[in-house]
């Protein structure tokens, strides 16, 4: 009787230790995901800040590209108002597209391309696009690692009881990218 009680208590103690351990590991991982997300967020904000300057500089030169410029402004405000990670990813993807279309259009304006102010802005924006892409990769790696931990046995039991939910990936879906419209 005594022995059975001891074994039972020992087992209970092990389970408690396991739960504490797993909980701490999950919290650590979730913080890493959050940290990776803030890395992306910094760069997205930076891009939102750069765009008004870019439009201001380009406006005088690109009188015939009203649509291109408006598309950027609209995509920016859409991206700034979106809340969930999934919506944000979609909106920011559209903004990336609009910006890259803009840089293609710039090729026809040699005066703008020679503007020192514009060159500095272009370098900053290109770099920010790159940083977003690299930070996105890092975030998705972290999110995948965290999600795997939540789904795999036996840590999924602890995660289920303590209410850990899966993190959304920051994905720009290729299929949703609109093909460039050609107007005659």
């Amino acid at each position: 009787m005594m022995l059975a009680l001891l074994i039972f208590l020992g087992g209970l103690l092990m389970v408690v230790f396991y739960v504490i351990n797993t909980y701490n590991a999950l919290v650590g991982l979730r913080n890493q995901v959050k940290n990776a997300w803030s890395q992306i967020d910094v760069q997205l904000k930076r891009r939102h800040d750069l765009i008004p300057n870019l439009i201001e500089t380009a406006k005088g030169y690109m009188k015939h590209e009203r649509d291109t410029l408006e598309a950027i402004v609209n995509a920016r405000s859409q991206a700034m108002s979106s809340q969930s990670i999934g919506d944000k990813a979609k909106a920011e993807g559209l903004l990336s597209d609009a910006v890259s279309k803009f840089f293609v259009a710039v090729e026809n304006y040699p005066d703008l391309k020679a503007n020192q102010n514009f060159l500095a802005l272009q370098e900053e924006l290109t770099s920010t696009e790159n940083k977003i892409a690299f930070a996105r990769q890092a975030y998705n790696d972290q999110a995948l690692f965290f999600n795997n931990k939540i789904e795999m046995f036996p840590s999924n039991i602890v995660a289920g009881i303590l209410n850990f939910t899966k993190q959304e990936f920051f994905e720009i879906q290729e299929a949703e990218r609109a093909a460039p419209k050609v107007q005659f």
């Binding site: 890395q39 890259s100 840089f103 293609v104 710039v106 090729e107 391309k113 020679a114 020192q116 102010n117 060159l119 500095a120 802005l121 272009q122 370098e123 900053e124 290109t126 770099s127 790159n130 940083k131 892409a133 690299f134 930070a135 990769q137 890092a138």
Partner: protein, 418 residues
């Protein structure tokens, strides 16, 4: 996770070469000790002296090796405003490599295109590039070079190569000082040796020590250089994984291997720190056991044959296709199933300035860093005045107008685009 496997595997492989070099040092210390000290513990004493020498030199290079290397190469630290593109590219790679802090950035005022990384751990790392490199490469190529240097930092290559370099240095110092002392003591020993009982054994030991003093530095160099070459390939592989754009590094290597300018202030021990062998430009493409870097052509060929993706497995496949063997990577890297798609180039962000104009702007930049002053003459010439200029009147060399040196400004109008 694969990165850690790779680093561990690297450490295991390097450990063997490391031990071999250490063995060389101790054996050299032992034989010299026996040859010099007529006591029976002479060998042990020699070994202890050799180990002590290595220990002291290691301590020095661990704690101040990076600042010694940087000041030896004449590098100047720069911030975001001096060269925004360089700063941005380093920051991009910092994000891709998930480094905790931003490395310090240095520019070396030299026309020879080259770059190196230093710092004993990722928190204390620094990356230095030459002005020649900056004026010659476009954005994608610069990114490839920075990624290669960043890979040396995250793969802990800097630390290993520093300790291995110190080991090699100790061996060279020991054998050199042994040789020197032979010249001075050869005459005096002739008189003393007749009075000794064990002169026979001493003479034999002397011959052994001489042979070893010749062999040890050669052996140690072989080990050191094979260590260095392996790490260059791995840094290329990691660089591609970070940038996802092998063509950038490939075309950068192609460009910087062409010019025949030798980098001043580089020597055989610091050579392995650079992206490309800074010494003999003519022998860069030769395969030989005494070179710090693998032949450039082979590195380019491997990078160019990566068509499908940018993970380690794809680099290893390209490596074995070009080299005929696949012993570069541990098996865990070969099972790398993570898809790392290649990305297109960012050619639209190209700087419209010509390479010559870029070089001129960079020259101005370096003069700003070296505290030069500038006067824009009405004829269009920008006159550069060194800090120690102390005449009352300055005549323009083109149009003979006279200027007051006190009106000089600390920055020319052309530099600083925003």
């Amino acid at each position: 996770m694969i990165m850690w496997e790779l680093i561990k595997e690297n450490q295991r492989k390097s450990w063997f070469l490391f031990m071999a070099m250490g063995g060389c040092l101790l054996a050299l210390g032992y034989t010299i000790g026996v040859a010099w000290v007529p006591h029976q513990d002479g060998g042990i004493l020699g070994m202890m002296m050799a180990a002590l020498l290595w220990f002291v030199l290691s301590l020095i290079s661990y704690f101040s090796g990076d600042s010694i290397l940087l000041s030896m190469s004449g590098a100047k630290e720069v911030n975001r405003h001096v060269h925004p593109q360089l700063f941005n590219v380093v920051e991009e790679m910092k994000i891709a490599a998930n480094l905790p802090v931003m490395p310090r950035i240095y520019i070396i005022d030299s026309p020879a295109p080259n770059a190196f990384a230093t710092g004993r751990n990722p928190e204390k790392s620094a990356i230095a590039v030459t002005a020649g490199l900056l004026s010659m490469l476009n954005r994608d190529e610069l990114q490839g070079v920075i990624a290669h240097e960043m890979s040396h930092v995250i793969n802990r290559d800097v630390l290993y190569m520093t300790f291995a370099g110190v080991l090699l240095g100790s061996i060279v110092i020991l054998s050199e000082s042994f040789w020197r002392s032979q010249y001075y003591s050869a005459s005096s020993r002739r008189y003393r040796s007749s009075s000794r009982d064990n002169s026979q054994a001493q003479a034999v030991m002397m011959v052994v020590a001489i042979v070893f003093a010749i062999l040890a530095p050669i052996l140690a160099r072989l080990f050191y250089f094979s260590l260095s070459r392996r790490r260059e390939y791995l840094a290329d592989a990691s660089a591609v994984r970070l940038t996802r754009y092998p063509e950038g590094l490939a075309s950068a290597l192609e460009k910087i291997s062409r010019p025949d300018i030798q980098l001043a202030n580089a020597n055989r021990v610091t050579a392995s720190m650079y992206i490309i062998n800074p010494l003999k430009a003519s022998s860069r493409n030769m395969v030989n056991a005494f070179s710090t870097h693998p032949p450039v052509e082979e590195r380019i060929k491997i990078l160019r044959s990566m068509m499908k993706g940018a993970n380690y497995k794809q680099y290893a496949e390209a490596f074995s296709k070009v080299k005929g063997n696949a012993s570069l990577m541990p098996s865990s890297a070969l099972a790398d199933s993570e898809s790392v798609p290649l990305r297109p180039s960012t050619a639209s962000a190209e700087d419209p300035r010509s390479s010559k104009q870029k070089a001129r702007d960079l020259g101005d930049l370096m003069r700003v860093l070296n505290n030069y002053l500038f006067i824009s003459c009405a004829c269009g010439l920008v006159i550069k005045i060194p800090m120690d200029f102390n005449r009352k009147v300055l005549t323009c060399p083109r149009c003979q107008r006279e200027h007051d040196p006190r009106s000089a400004r600390p920055a020319p109008a052309r530099v600083s685009p925003g």
